[in-house]
């Protein structure tokens, strides 16, 4: 095919980015130096491969860039992919880094006394309203989600809600705020995800990158 656009790989800022840097090297993706400069204002970076660019976006935005085809591939947490469950996104490779899990948590004393069978409605603070609503809906409970972008652990103690749904890595933040984990919703790890149209129209180069990431993840 002629006049190919460059392929764009979206990478999330923060926690996962550090974890996947060695993986990128093993997959043979060598970004320009500015990419490793945390203070750089630049958002799009070239790589050694003239046909591949990298963009650095917020973790939650990786799925949006990908779904719209603005990025052709992305490294994205499986939590983010669950929340934005677009049929336009495939998640073929588990990169086996950035492990944690998505859980429901509540203040310890409430968790001890309440009978979840009796709930019909519940207010939950979360960054993941879609996942939360469908998790509770499957249990016959209507979840009214309060979307927060951080400091979720404060919410139950300040009376905003009784439950939170959040990522749990070690559990120490929950503990420090008097919360206990009630149920695990899903294990989370970083995935290589691809846009459906891109996979089907740029099959060769995309399958090649998928293969390289697969090898890199296996070698870890």
């Amino acid at each position: 095919m002629s006049a190919n656009e460059k392929l764009v790989l979206a990478l999330p800022k923060g926690r996962i980015l550090k974890a996947i840097t060695p993986l990128l090297t093993r997959a043979g993706i060598e970004p320009e130096d500015a990419f490793f400069d945390e203070d750089a204002r630049q958002l799009q970076f070239a790589t050694r491969d003239p046909e591949l660019d990298i963009i650095r976006v917020r973790s939650f935005d990786t799925a949006t860039f990908l779904a719209f085809g603005a990025a052709h591939l992305a490294v994205s947490g499986s939590d983010v992919l669950m929340e934005f469950d677009h049929p336009e996104i495939y998640a073929p490779v588990d990169l086996n880094v950035g492990h944690c899990h998505l859980a429901v948590a509540a203040p310890a004393e409430i968790a001890k006394t309440e009978d979840p069978q009796r709930w019909s409605h519940l207010r939950v603070a979360t960054k993941y309203p879609n996942v939360t609503r469908s998790y509770f809906a499957a249990r016959g409970v209507q979840a009214e989600c309060i979307k927060l972008n951080g400091a979720l652990e404060l919410a139950p103690n300040l009376g905003l809600c009784r439950r939170i749904v959040d990522l749990v890595q070690t559990g120490s933040t929950l503990k420090a705020n008097g919360l206990v984990e009630i149920d695990k919703i899903a294990d989370v790890s970083a995935r290589l995800a691809v846009n459906r149209t891109a996979l089907k129209t740029r099959t060769g180069p995309i399958n090649d990158l998928i293969g390289r990431f697969q090898e890199a993840a296996r070698a870890a």
Partner: protein, 399 residues
């Protein structure tokens, strides 16, 4: 209007202009361009013997939800019919209407029956990705033939129509939606496990498939790996050990790929044997059509899709395609506004008529003006009628 005028629009005027989410006005030259593209698509479909039919915009809910319409239940606008006191629905897809016509009014028409249509559909839900709730569909259905030739014909007619409309760099992705359910049914998994596995397969999440499928993982991950260019994918598929029903479905796929490749050797064909999302009502070969935009960019979604399904309570089989005009237009260059000739007030009618006969569009002046050229420019005309000749405006017209 400039940006500053735009920000000064009064609240009342803004309220009047606002349309409900997902609905829009299409202006010139886009509306005319859309009609032109639809005409081309329909002309090339009817040239293959597909007869145009026109079902109503609204019909009883029960008929809209039968057969291939079952999956549209959540997307239909409903209204009560004051005459019959029954619930009616605004169509969210036209395939189901074709199936209804084929099995009722055209029940005795000879098979195979070829029908085509164009029309608007309305959907209650939209998402961030596809915000339009009113869409235009052009489609064709080939009813009553089980053959691989019918599967291939539907793809080929769609491709020919799209090419004729100017869509370049088409690629066809062929799939077999019933394949995964057939394979999974032979594994004897619990319903929960099977649902999880299907969700993982839909996302091409190989890691999850390997965890969930246990002993059966190798076959499933090979199926997942057979996604891509037709020759490579077919080679992988031929090496697999599959249950008889799945094997038959794949043999059909091979035949259809060969028929398509023979007829359109330049067409890019990819296979995805495990794709199922959005193709739930298909019972045989299905396909998606992708295109590049005029500047080589990826068109975000499919320009069309289709496949084999059952009608008439499963007694008859059909295949068809639907083209999404909004997406087709994204694959085409921006339309150019038609240039018009300004006819000053008082010009004899037969002179203006002769200009139109010569193929130009005219804009009639309705009152005398001092400067015909200035008036022509104000109205966005490229030319004006001066001393019995078409004169070009000195500077390019404002459009």
């Amino acid at each position: 209007m400039s940006e500053s005028e735009f920000s000064a629009v009064s609240a009342a005027a803004g309220r009047l202009a606002l349309l409900p989410a997902g609905l829009r006005d299409i202006l010139s030259p886009n509306a005319a361009n859309e009609a032109r593209v639809i005409d081309l698509l329909m002309a090339h479909t009817t040239a293959h013997g597909y007869e145009r039919v026109k079902p109503p915009l609204v019909e009883f809910e029960t008929s809209l939800l039968s057969g291939p319409g079952a999956a549209t239940g959540g997307r239909i606008f409903r209204l009560m019919d004051p005459v019959s006191q029954r619930m009616m629905g605004v169509r969210a897809d036209m395939t189901v209407q074709m199936a209804r016509i084929a099995t009722s009014r055209l029940k005795n028409a000879p098979r195979p029956l070829r029908l085509c249509y164009v029309g608007q559909v309305l959907r209650t839900t939209a998402n961030q990705l596809n915000p339009e709730r009113e869409l235009v569909q052009v489609g064709a259905e080939l009813i009553g033939s089980e053959t691989a030739e019918a599967d291939a014909e539907i793809v080929l007619v769609a491709v020919e129509a799209l090419k004729a409309a100017g869509v370049s760099e088409l690629s066809v992705d062929l799939m077999v939606p019933p394949l995964v359910p057939t394979v999974l049914a032979t594994l004897g998994l619990s319903a929960d496990r099977e649902a999880q596995l299907r969700a993982a397969i839909d996302r091409k999440d190989i890691a999850a498939v390997e965890t969930l499928a246990g002993d059966h993982a190798p076959v499933l991950s090979k199926l997942l790996g057979a996604t891509g260019q037709k020759d490579e994918a077919l080679a992988v598929l031929h090496g697999l050990d599959l249950p008889a029903a799945a094997r038959a479905a794949l043999d059909r796929l091979t035949t259809v790929v060969e028929l398509i490749a023979a007829a359109e050797p330049g067409l890019r064909v990819t296979l995805d044997p495990v794709e199922n999302r959005g193709f739930e009502y298909h019972t045989g070969i299905a396909f998606s059509l992708f295109a590049r935009g005029a500047r080589g960019e990826m068109v975000r979604g499919e320009v069309g899709r289709g496949g084999r399904y059952r009608v008439n309570g499963g007694t008859e089989t059909a295949t068809g395609f639907t083209l999404y005009i909004e997406m087709v237009l994204q694959a085409l260059p921006d339309p150019i506004r038609r240039e018009t000739v300004f006819i000053p007030h008082g010009t004899p009618r037969d002179e203006a008529h002769a200009i139109r006969v010569a193929g130009h569009a005219t804009v009639q002046g309705l009152a005398p003006v001092a400067d015909a050229a200035a008036e022509a420019r104000r109205l966005g005309c490229a030319f004006y009628w001066l001393d019995g000749k078409i004169a070009a405006l000195a500077s390019p017209s404002q459009t």
